[in-house]
């Protein structure tokens, strides 16, 4: 019987695990199986480092299973905005030094961007991270999922983790997207159709010509937000674009990483690319999706373009195209946050940063502070923000009376220009 992409990935992982450990598990993983996978990489971000370190010590492991497989990234608290933040860096540095972890990023950008950009993740890998948006690495055909700090501590000791192989929702998209419609509009539409719990405990598997023609950066936006529908992971079949992005040649095993035509899917959703329109998630539900045209005229106070969802080069470029030679509304603050130092550098060299600042944007250091309301760009009662990040939860970017609209970089830039929500 055919296998879904996640079933193939898990099977491949277990086969490799068997070679290393001699433990026989299942020969062909299928949805519902509870199996132990060997972990190819883990990511721990600053906000949870003290807890991971504490739980790891409490568990009593003598050493970390493989320090080279561990990546520590300081992003939520960089630069520090409160006194307590510094403690996280000190504990992180001491933890890395004690157990010989060398992959520590202190000012390079947002964890999910760095994990793919720096080549820590490749097709077929099994990766866990302490951030829920670890689903992002499905963009290159890896099984990746967010976990808590206690499970992370146990992986540091054992190199393995139990999982239940998820059922898969197949999402097929064919055709050419209309101008000004981006992958963000696709994933928001899908979340609206599924609901915020519509993919709970499940994998999403994307396919079709629209997906094949999409950049890895655009796919990343979709796998990033899959967790907003509750998904355990969101997978794209590795292809030549993936290979270029990861700077690898696809092996025979990797090119075989695709869902079989006779695989069993719990649900199949089919879209025509031509039917998509620019949409936004309205306050304060990520699945309350409305066409931008219906929201036109809604006055706003701030626009945020950035985050692990939409802080990539192509996102800054899309915003710059909207803002080129124009000036934003005098009543709006526009904050742009590149997802990594590398993206910042490239955008500075190509002139995109100059275009954005000339139009009235503030460009900030790469990091997570704005998206999670932790540092910078905080709003107050009654204020509205159009933002490209992934969550519009109550109180996420300031007080619980702030209204957050989630949008693509194109829609966000349009809103900044007019001072109100405006269809592209």
């Amino acid at each position: 019987m055919g296998q879904t992409l996640i079933e193939k990935l898990v099977t491949r992982n277990i086969q490799r695990h068997e070679e290393q450990t001699g433990i026989h598990s299942v020969t062909a993983a299928k949805a519902g199986d509870i199996v132990t996978v060997s972990v190819d990489r883990v990511m721990i971000h600053d906000i949870f480092i003290p807890f991971v370190a504490e739980k790891f010590e409490e568990m009593g492991f003598p050493k970390i299973w493989n320090p080279d497989k561990v990546v520590l990234i300081y992003d939520h608290l960089v630069p520090a905005s409160q006194q307590d933040d510094v403690r996280h860096f000190k504990i992180g540095d001491a933890f890395a030094a004690k157990y010989g972890m060398k992959n520590v990023h202190r000012s390079d950008g947002i964890c999910h961007q760095l994990m793919t950009e720096a080549g820590y993740v490749k097709p077929g890998d099994v990766v866990f991270g302490t951030d829920s948006h670890t689903t992002t690495y499905g963009c290159v055909g890896a099984f990746s999922s967010g976990i808590g700090y206690t499970e992370m501590a146990s992986i540091l000791g054992t190199g393995s983790m139990w999982i239940k192989v998820p059922e898969t929702i197949q999402v097929k998209i064919e055709g050419v997207l209309p101008a000004q419609v981006t992958s963000k509009d696709i994933i928001l539409t899908l979340i609206g159709d599924l609901g915020a719990d519509g993919a709970t405990y499940k994998a999403l598997e994307f396919s079709g010509s629209t997906i094949e023609n999409m950049t890895v950066a655009s796919r990343m936006t979709m796998s990033n937000m899959a967790v907003e529908a509750g998904a355990k992971c969101a997978l794209f079949t590795p292809d030549e674009k993936t290979a270029d992005y990861c700077q690898i040649s696809l092996t025979e095993q990797e090119t075989a990483l695709k869902g079989d035509t006779d695989a069993t899917y719990c649900q199949t959703i089919t879209y025509k690319a031509e039917d998509f329109v620019p949409v936004m998630a309205c306050p304060s539900q990520v699945d309350l999706i409305k066409p931008v045209s219906q929201l036109a005229g809604t006055k706003i106070d701030q626009v945020f373009i950035g985050s692990c969802t939409n802080g990539r080069y192509e996102d800054l470029e899309a915003a710059a195209q909207v803002l080129q030679g124009k000036t934003i509304s005098p009543f709006v603050k526009l904050i742009v946050t590149p997802a990594s130092r590398q993206i910042f550098t490239e955008a500075a060299q190509s002139g995109i940063i100059k275009t954005l600042t000339a139009a009235g944007a503030i460009v900030t250091h790469p990091g997570c502070g704005l998206c999670c309301g932790r540092a910078g760009g905080i709003l107050s009662d009654g204020e509205r923000v159009v933002a490209t990040n992934n969550r519009n939860f109550l109180g996420r970017m300031g007080t619980s009376k702030v209204e957050i609209y989630l949008a693509s970089p194109v829609s966000a830039a349009m809103a900044a220009l007019k001072g109100e929500i405006t269809p592209p």
């Binding site: 568990m59 009593g60 409160q82 991270g129 302490t130 976990i147 206690t150 000791g157 932790r374 109550l394």
Partner: protein, 166 residues
């Protein structure tokens, strides 16, 4: 079979982890420092009102959002006896089990119970409320093992041949 009676606090659908503990407080030194901010965006007074042994009843998708394990740890620190919901988000579910916090999924209770009411929970069997019984499903054995060990830290200590932590 373990049975207990508890007073109920009722919350709605999609109670996300930012509501359970906002990002602002995640870098405080201890879970004890954080717990007074539990549920603050929605009901700032709630953390001060919850009494040890109380139960939270919610709608669907409880715990959606972040992987922050502080969320179930804080609920445990408030000495909430268990959380009953129509459904739980995946990461929250795993985090709660790993901290030995009992979660119960049941589809019909939420609309039938009022805040302040007392209910009776028969673990792995049913919930009794207003003279009606609401069946509850058993957890898979590997999860029961973790809860019985007192959470994942204790389970790993046992694996490593160490005494349980106090």
């Amino acid at each position: 079979m373990e049975t207990f009676k508890s007073k109920v606090w009722v919350l709605g659908d999609d109670i996300d982890t930012d509501i359970i503990i906002p990002t602002d407080y995640l870098a405080l030194k201890t879970i004890g420092d954080m717990k007074k901010y539990a549920f603050s965006p929605l009901r700032p007074e709630l953390a001060g009102q919850i009494q040890p042994g109380d139960v939270i009843v919610a709608g669907k998708n409880f715990g959606c959002g972040s992987s922050r394990e502080q969320a179930p740890e804080i609920i445990k620190a408030l000495q909430v006896r268990c959380v009953i919901a129509k459904s739980f988000a995946r990461i929250f579910f795993r985090n709660a089990i790993n901290n030995g916090l009992l979660l119960i999924e049941t589809p019909d209770l939420t609309e039938q119970v009022e805040e302040g009411q007392e209910i009776e929970v028969c673990v792995n069997h049913c919930i009794k409320c207003n003279g009606k019984e609401y069946p509850i499903a058993s957890l898979p054995q590997n999860l029961v093992d973790i809860i019985q060990a007192g959470g994942l830290v204790q389970a790993m200590r046992k694996r490593n041949g160490l005494e349980p932590l106090e």
